[in-house]
């Protein structure tokens, strides 16, 4: 066993921290209103962190171990959770899909600094299972005509393609649809209370023409979805850890400087104990997350169940910590979109994406019951 990061890994974390600190101005939420602003921020970040090997994390060829990679993701998430999520969905999650779909058309998609593809699998409400798609698909010569709607699409309006799931003759299909396609309408970015710098929008298809050469029939769609969920979970775990860090840092600072009854808040036992519980949850979450990431490298047979355990624990711990921190920070958290209030809402969102904490619990229990 070894519970410490190597010196090289620590240097890498310092570099990551340093790069993100230098780009502080793009992390200001107010600067991330439009697709253009968000896309520009994503490009800037990618250019800065590519040399650190961040993009290759969690791939077999990566010289950076998965635990260290998770820590780098956590540092990013702590600085700007919205951009982190957009970045991860735009690059890492799509890249996992790309590796799964081996067709040359997918492999030859032009990759540059902006997100290549937004994954649009969700219909109606945020779905956690693989119900039959409501998208209608008609054959029309060399094309298919798509009609219907996809919702909560991350990086909508930023990515150059949409990967849209549907069905043709009862067979699961994935359509790669260019951003400028006729019949594709991207709704305005959602005015939401979660991840304000994340471009999420609904998209509408009205007889949208998709070339048949850009439609793929993955043999095991459920396996592909599970594979993507595994990586979404890693993203959620890192995001949760980063947000916990931010909550505790802000609140501890406040508790040390803000006075009540002629002494700092932290000198009051109720406040100090509440922070102690938050730190306990964070440390526990962190170790569980590290172990889950380590299992990815070691190929441990329990890697999937640990990934789900870590997803549930970390995302729920983030919510608990944000809630406790709000109690300490008091009324100020309801003013000016306070970061800790946002984190409370964000933590609910990351409980839903990837595999939802509900379904994760069922999956964990199914393994336990085997």
């Amino acid at each position: 066993m070894n519970f410490k990061f190597s010196d090289n890994e620590k240097i890498l974390f310092q570099e990551m921290e340093s790069v993100l600190t230098q780009e502080k101005q793009i992390f200001v939420h107010d600067a991330l209103h439009t697709e253009k602003e968000i896309a520009s921020a994503l490009i800037t970040i990618k250019q800065k962190i590519i040399s650190l090997g961040y993009m290759h994390a969690f791939s077999k060829a990566s010289p950076i171990g998965s635990v260290a990679a998770l820590e780098m993701m956590r540092i990013f998430a702590k600085h700007q959770p919205s951009l982190f999520l957009g970045f991860e969905y735009g690059f890492r999650i799509f890249n996992e899909m790309r590796q799964w779909l081996t067709e040359p058309q997918i492999q030859s998609l032009h990759i540059d600094d902006s997100p290549t593809c937004a994954i649009a699998f969700c219909e109606d409400v945020v779905e956690t299972d693989t119900k039959p798609s409501l998208l209608t698909v008609q054959s029309n010569g060399d094309h298919f005509l798509l009609s219907g709607e996809k919702r909560f699409v991350i990086n909508a309006g930023i990515a150059k393609y949409f990967a849209v799931n549907g069905e043709i003759d009862n067979k699961s299909a994935i359509f790669f649809i260019p951003l400028q396609s006729e019949g594709l309408e991207i709704h305005p970015l959602m005015n939401k209370r979660i991840f304000p710098g994340l471009a999420i929008a609904n998209i509408q298809f009205c007889n949208c023409m998709v070339s048949k050469s850009m439609v793929f029939f993955p043999q095991h769609i459920n396996s592909l979805i599970s594979h993507l969920q595994f990586f979404e979970n890693i993203v959620c775990i890192a995001c949760a850890l980063g947000m916990m860090d931010q909550c505790i840092e802000i609140t501890t600072g406040f508790a040390k400087t803000h006075q009540s009854e002629n002494k700092p808040l932290i000198a009051h036992q109720a406040v100090a104990f509440s922070l102690a519980e938050a730190v306990t949850l964070r440390q526990t979450a962190e170790l569980l997350a590290y172990r889950a990431a380590w299992m990815f490298d070691s190929g441990d047979s329990e890697k999937n169940i640990l990934n789900q355990c870590a997803k549930v624990f970390c995302s729920e711990a983030a919510e608990t910590i944000a809630s406790q921190c709000m109690n300490i920070l008091g009324g100020q958290v309801f003013i000016d979109n306070h970061i800790v209030e946002q984190i409370l809402c964000n933590s609910k969102f990351i409980q839903l994406i990837g595999i939802s904490t509900h379904l994760a619990r069922i999956a964990i229990a199914d393994v336990v019951l085997k």
Partner: protein, 380 residues
């Protein structure tokens, strides 16, 4: 980072589970119902090598590292050994014997360790007093030097193994005017005049461990029974805390593994509304939460063991976090384990109510959760 147990550790864990299932668990219920200590199993643990696993072979120990020692504790829990016996083992091996090994003289080690390691004699540690629980420094028991002797007066309470111990490692004030710096550590043997143990206390859980008061009434002990230096007792006591935060928690982690297996087996066989209760999401949620707790808690304990093996001073924040998390957060999954069994869970036969009662000590013993929060908040 690397979280893997090596092959030897994995094999050893299986061996301990096999041993415990054969030699200990068949008689647990019988002893639990009678509130009695299982001397036979305890001695078998000594013979198997568990009581002195981490001590040098020259004293009859196993020479194992701390992580392996922790894994043995986890394995006992996983085999279904009750909290009472593992608590007695912890108080004996870690709180008593380890302090003698770490701070005693060669003569102390030669005289006491071999029989403690073999299980022929039983040790206990006397620290807590009726008016000095978390606030150790306010202890009132005194040890006043008188020529070649110390004279002890006072009492201790909640002492695991108190009524059955052959020797007690006792903390007392050699300088009552001082706080922490006035505390020293002594070995007091069973038949010493002026030393007695009270009747076993009736407890909610951990019933196979015997707990009592210790009384010192002009108890004269040879000056050479001082362990380490005068005034260093508080420091020694705090060092045993590292064991409280690792080895003593390990059987609880194993106990959760055991409970998950029990609950899973029961839920698959128990039919309600024409289907096994394992098909109900409410049952699955409980099982999932038990598994999540287990995986979250395990690494916390391993980390402390690993730090000790590296010769690093245990980080007090990490140790307190482990104790607080396992103490406070274990209550829900142990309650869930009982609930899965319904009415049977409330009955002794299925072992879940025993697990619940035993685990209820976790946020209290070895430093309460409040003390852990105090430590953590000071270190933030």
């Amino acid at each position: 980072m690397d979280f893997e147990l090596n092959k030897t550790q994995q094999m050893f864990k299986k061996e301990v589970i096999r041993f415990a299932k054969k030699e200990i668990t068949p008689r647990i219920q019988e002893h639990e119902l009678k509130d009695e200590f299982d001397f036979d199993s305890f001695r078998k643990m000594g013979k198997f090598g568990l009581l002195g696993l981490h001590f040098p072979e020259s004293f009859g120990g196993g020479g194992a590292d701390v992580l392996t020692t922790i894994i043995a504790g986890e394995a006992l829990g996983e085999a279904g050994v009750d909290g009472g016996l593992t608590l007695a083992y912890g108080a004996h091996s870690f709180l008593c014997a380890d302090t003698i090994f770490s701070h005693g003289t060669d003569s102390h080690r030669q005289k006491f360790l071999p029989s403690l390691i073999s299980g022929e004699s039983i040790g206990c540690m006397g620290l807590t007093e009726p008016d000095a629980g978390s606030d150790v420094a306010s202890m009132k028991t005194t040890a006043i030097r008188d020529g070649d002797h110390y004279v002890l007066n006072g009492s201790k309470i909640f002492i695991t193994n108190g009524p059955i111990a052959d020797l007690a490692l006792v903390y007392a004030k050699t300088n009552p005017e001082k706080q922490h710096e006035g505390i020293s550590t002594f070995i007091v043997e069973k038949d010493t005049k002026g030393f007695s143990a009270g009747a076993p206390l009736k407890k909610m859980g951990m019933r196979t461990s015997q707990t009592s008061e210790l009384f010192f009434n002009n108890c004269r002990i040879p000056a050479e029974n001082l362990v380490g230096q005068e005034g260093m007792g508080f420091l020694y006591a705090m060092q045993t805390v590292e064991w409280d935060r690792s080895a003593l928690l390990a059987p609880m982690i194993g106990g959760m593994s055991h409970a998950i297996k029990q609950c899973s087996g029961y839920a698959k066989k128990r039919y309600q509304f024409h289907r096994p209760i394992s098909h109900f999401q409410a049952t699955k949620y409980k099982l999932a939460d038990m598994k999540i707790f287990l995986e979250a808690a395990r690494s916390l304990v391993y980390r402390i063991a690993w730090c000790k093996d590296q010769g690093q001073a245990v980080n007090h924040l990490e140790a307190a976090v482990a104790k607080l998390f396992i103490g406070d957060w274990s209550l829900k999954p142990t309650n869930d384990a009982m609930l899965i069994h319904g009415g049977y869970g409330y009955c002794h036969e299925y072992g879940m109510e025993m697990l619940f009662r035993d685990n209820r000590l976790a946020p209290i013993g070895g430093g309460t959760s409040e003390i852990q929060k105090k430590i953590i908040s000071k270190l933030i």
